[in-house]
């Protein structure tokens, strides 16, 4: 019988303290807290949480094991459907997925499914070193482009089935968006991301960094010259979008991608690293998604008075609720229903402010969200020295433009069916490269599905 207690609070770093460091915000549950929270689960006959999980993790089953203190069993329940619990537990938008569907959430607080998943993932990472089970080599090789969540998941599954897998990564460090995009304070690199990548390597997966598909090599050279039987393209959605307003090329206007890459991948916040990062005394971040929250909170940690400018209202903010909440606690200003129309510069060509217009919400658009309409005559200026554009990203055209017969669709996304099959035989794709910028869990799910499809394709050829 479920325990009718309030949701067990999770310990977090003090907001004032964390606003000037890059240590993780949330400490997560300890064993007692996790077991106590797990007792709140009603163990529904028809679990809505599972239906709303993009990869259908058997949530009540793993929570039952946590409640009983059988953490290894909990880990293997999750492992049947998800490869990266310590990462997804931290970055999944639980409020629109599992927790959003939890029946306890109707009258009170849903079970903290994300925090429990994270607990199990972290517990498992701490145990470390158990020998993975790998099928004997079947002699066939698969190339994976990109080492983000989709690429890692696909590579891991294929390696377990006995394929020889090599991942090609464009940057100098594997991990994709987990490394260059999501900040340390939300997803620790050494403690969480690196061990997850090590787990994949322990399955025999090779990772070649500094190798750009479409430049250093091509999809065709992998298939024709390097002896790979199939290729999985998981190159993400890395191209930043800008607004196309006057003043956008002034010094001090950067994409969130640039800002976050300098800090996360190049570790510009650490003085022993050479890469510099410019931070305004006052920084305005344009956008309302997770990337905007990451950028604004990073600017805050680097000393800026940091503000979010978003053209819709708070209800439409696409960011995770927890990130918005944390950002507010850290002193981030939110200017909702506000849209920049021009970036203003000083006589030396540096940013001195943004001219904005107030918006109101009109009719719902194609996405179902009410579309913002500018209010005539409402222009005003926000003084600042830096503007960070966090308006979304689209897939890099490098691969599509160098691979004959590979079809693309909207915004340059690679066209693929639900199994990742593209218009080219032996070429599969998944994750953000196919969907446009989405979530870690969807990318992971797409990678795993493609692994099954690649296995079907290649086993038919044996």
């Amino acid at each position: 019988m479920a325990n009718k207690i309030p949701r067990v609070p999770v310990r977090e770093q003090d907001p004032l303290k964390r606003a000037s460091n890059f240590e993780e915000v949330c400490y997560g549950y300890d064993e007692q807290e996790a077991r106590l929270e797990a007792t709140r689960c009603l163990d529904c006959k028809k679990p809505r949480c599972v239906e709303h999980c993009p990869v259908s993790v058997h949530i009540p089953d793993f929570i039952r094991e946590v409640a009983a203190g059988r953490f290894a069993e909990a880990a293997s329940v999750i492992a049947a459907d998800s490869l990266l619990p310590s990462i997804c537990g931290r970055v999944c938008p639980q409020e629109t997925q599992c927790e959003g569907a939890c029946i306890l959430g109707v009258k009170g607080e849903p079970v903290a499914i994300g925090k429990l998943e994270r607990f199990v993932g972290d517990w498992q990472l701490k145990q470390g070193g158990e020998k993975p089970t790998i099928a004997p080599s079947n002699g066939q090789r698969v190339a994976v482009i990109g080492s983000g969540p989709a690429g890692l998941a696909c590579a891991a599954d294929l390696a377990r089935m006995g394929y020889g897998v090599k991942i090609f990564e464009a940057l100098h460090k594997p991990g994709g968006v987990l490394v260059y995009g999501i900040p340390e304070f939300r997803l620790p690199k050494e403690r969480v991301v690196a061990p997850e990548i090590e787990k994949v390597k322990a399955l025999g997966v090779e990772i070649e960094t500094d190798t750009i598909a479409g430049r250093t090599l091509t999809i065709d050279s992998l298939l024709d010259e390097e002896g790979f039987g199939a290729v999985f393209i998981a190159s993400g959605a890395g191209l930043p979008q800008f607004m196309g307003i006057p003043g956008e090329n002034l010094n001090g206007v950067v994409s969130a991608n640039e800002f976050l890459t300098r800090v996360n991948l190049m570790r510009a916040f650490d003085e022993t690293y050479d890469t510099p990062v410019f931070v305004g005394r006052r920084t305005v971040v344009v956008g309302g998604g997770n990337v905007a929250m990451d950028a604004v909170r990073t600017a805050r940690r680097l000393g800026a008075e940091a503000t979010i400018v978003y053209r819709r209202s708070e209800a439409e903010l696409p960011a995770r609720v927890e990130e918005v909440h944390h950002a507010r606690e850290e002193g981030i200003q939110f200017r909702m229903l506000t849209n920049p129309v021009e970036v203003l510069g000083d006589e030396k060509g540096w940013v001195r402010g943004v001219r904005c217009v107030a918006m109101e919400l009109g009719e719902p658009d194609a996405s179902g969200r009410r579309s913002p309409v500018p209010l005539v005559g409402s222009e005003f200026e926000i003084p600042c020295e830096q503007v960070i554009m966090a308006l979304g990203t689209s897939p890099n055209p490098l691969i599509a433009s160098t691979t004959e017969g590979l079809e693309t669709g909207r915004k340059g996304c690679i066209a693929a069916d639900e199994w990742g099959q593209t218009s080219r035989e032996g070429v599969f794709a998944g994750g953000d490269a196919v969907t446009g910028a989405a979530t870690v869990i969807l990318a992971m799910g797409a990678g795993r599905k493609a692994a099954q499809a690649i296995d079907r394709y290649l086993s038919a050829k044996r």
Binding site: E258, R262, P276
Partner: protein, 294 residues
């Protein structure tokens, strides 16, 4: 890790290196660049490809000391390794995909300034190997800072030198020599390719506009990843924002907004200078007691 096979000091602050990178060497074409990261702490530094040999599997880069990372790179010796060497990046020079018959009918003039001489070399060499003799102007402050003169002489049609102080060749700027060739000597050129400091490219492009000679320039914008991800290298060309790393690095010199490009290039100058000063002082044993080095 990528091994340095050869190192040659070209001037006190310019170094040439051959780096073992078989995949890059196999795919490299004239006009492209690489990104180099010297060690774990290093910046990702974009450097134009100065030469390559697909058979031997090496790529040549020419580095001028400007900041902390380039200094560390220049201090490496043959036999040492560097952490990362990625490429080839950017689009190859346009002429690479043009029919040879048409190239052979054209007269090319390359204008190279300072360390910009390095990326000009593989272009002139590529044309030379295909029977196209291109004229080349190489400019520098003085005779001691001219680089790759012998290499260039071996592949160029005619080689002209220009130095600010007249210690070698023409006395004056490359634009003065260009003017002399076209206006006084009546030389006809079908296209000009200018690579060097932004300010030089700006004035070469301004001159060739009046002569009506199509002109290509190669921009060395700031970059982080070099694959289109960060947008640090944004440049306005013909009124449109382009990314130097994926749309360039070569652009129509008559369409580039050089003033904006120069301003954007200086974005990190103050921070870089600062980092270099701090490092110099630390190396000299100075310890800041009031925390200014943080």
């Amino acid at each position: 890790m990528y091994k340095i096979l050869l190192k040659r000091q070209l001037t006190p602050d310019i170094v040439l290196m051959h780096v073992e990178a078989p995949r890059v060497a196999r795919s490299a074409q004239p006009g492209q660049f690489v990104i180099v990261r010297v060690d774990e702490q290093g910046e990702r530094v974009p450097l134009t490809i100065a030469d390559y040999d697909a058979q031997e599997g090496w790529v040549a880069i020419v580095i001028q000391t400007v900041g902390v990372s380039t200094r560390k790179l220049c201090d490496r010796e043959a036999g040492d390794e560097i952490a990362d060497f990625v490429g080839p990046l950017g689009r190859p020079s346009d002429f690479v995909s043009e029919p040879l018959e048409s190239l052979r009918k054209q007269r090319f003039l390359f204008v190279a300034g300072g360390v910009g001489t390095a990326p000009v070399y593989p272009q002139v060499k590529w044309l030379y190997e295909r029977g196209v003799a291109a004229d080349v102007i190489v400019g520098a402050k003085n005779a001691a800072t001219l680089i790759l003169v012998d290499e260039m002489r071996a592949v160029a049609g005619r080689l002209f030198l220009a130095t600010d102080d007249g210690s070698a060749g023409y006395k004056g700027l490359v634009t003065g020599l260009l003017q002399e060739l076209v206006e006084q000597k009546g030389q006809h050129y079908d296209r000009v390719i200018a690579i060097g400091p932004m300010i030089m490219m700006k004035f070469v492009a301004a001159a060739t506009r009046t002569y009506g000679i199509p002109t290509v320039v190669s921009l060395n914008s700031l970059m982080v990843d070099g694959t289109g991800m960060c947008g640090a290298c944004r440049v306005t060309v013909g009124g449109r924002t382009r990314f130097t790393c994926v749309d360039g690095p070569e652009f129509d010199g008559h369409e580039v907004d050089f003033d904006e490009a120069m301003r954007r290039q200086g974005m990190y100058r103050t921070l870089e200078e600062r980092a270099r000063k701090i490092e110099e002082e630390r190396a000299a044993g100075h310890r800041c007691r009031i925390g200014l080095d943080r």
